[in-house]
Amino acid sequence: MALPWFERNLNFGYAPKMLPFFLERLHGTVIRLEEKTRGIDDKILSKKLEGKWSIKENIGHLAEVDEIGNKRIGEMTSGAAILSPAVFEPKDYNPWSIEKVLDFFRKTRLANLKKYKTLSEEQLKKSSLHPRLKVQMTPVDLAWFDAEHDDHHLVKINEILDYTLNQ
């Protein structure tokens, strides 16, 4: 069982020169998800094990986090003291086709990548307080944070697949 996300110790303070690596990771998540879900029965993709999120819900969650991330990038570069809280209005992704869920995530992810690529080095050094972690976070830190968060949910999806395919 993977370490719960909210128990992760996370260190920030990444230099702007690290951003290309983090953007490459963020870009790769869509491709990894496509490969991971290819050929998987829709019943498995929608299955909630012990009431937890299904595979589709894990992917939809990443898209919702991207929408908040997009807003937070703007807050950091405009000098906001504190970032907006991560408040979600979850949708029911299980009736959606996997293609539709992936397409939703692809759109939010490409929007964020595009936004990161417009930032100057000066903007990449601006920071705001993360409301839950109580640490200063720059856009570079956010890119790394989201890449780690992606991996966390890819592992959750692996756990669902391992359990259902090996039953």
Partner: protein, 181 residues
């Protein structure tokens, strides 16, 4: 994008975490073949073979990842058998320079990388929690490197070469009409 990427040998690594994030690291390593395949799927042969300023071509960058997989697995065995130091890497990368990866087809290179990486993934999935926190000294960095740290290092090294490939594609996009990133 204004930010330039840090050179590999200038990178600093933080191996201080006491928490196990090994499943995430295995997942990252498992994702590299698909990311490479997607990146070069509609890239022409001349772009795949092009060496900019004497640097490695895209094929050579991928071949280098294949070349290094035995080192990564050898170092895992060094940790598990409680060697003091991890085995040294050839910092001149002569194996890749001499391999003539440009003469191979891109499909062969990608297939071989997927094959060796799948074996790595299976080996890592078989390790116990105790194995993940065993360590040996890294010969260049002179710091203790646990199994978890070592494979985080490998995942970062993968990303370094994926970004290098992005830079090649970006540089050549006008010369050969390579696909936009």
């Amino acid at each position: 994008m204004k930010a330039q990427q840090t050179k590999w040998f200038d990178r600093k690594f933080d191996f201080s975490s006491e928490q196990s994030i090994f499943p995430s690291i295995i997942e990252r390593l498992n994702g590299t073949p698909a990311r490479l395949e997607e990146k070069i799927k509609s890239v022409s042969e001349e772009v795949l073979n092009e060496k900019i300023n004497g640097g490695w071509s895209i094929k050579e960058n991928i071949g280098h990842l294949v070349d290094l997989e035995p080192l990564w697995m050898g170092r895992l065995e060094d940790i598990l058998t409680k060697e003091t130091y991890l085995r040294t890497a050839d910092l001149t990368n002569s194996k890749t320079d001499q391999a003539n990866h440009n003469t191979r087809s891109i499909n062969d290179l990608l297939k071989e990388f997927r094959s060796v990486r799948t074996l790595t993934k299976k080996r890592l999935e078989s390790l116990s929690d105790e194995n993940i926190f065993l360590s040996a000294l890294h010969p260049r960095l002179k710091t203790p490197m646990r199994t978890m740290d070592h494979f985080l290092f490998v995942a970062e090294h993968d990303d370094h070469h994926l970004v290098t490939i992005n830079n090649i594609l970006h540089t050549l996009k006008n010369k050969f009409h390579a696909p936009a990133l």
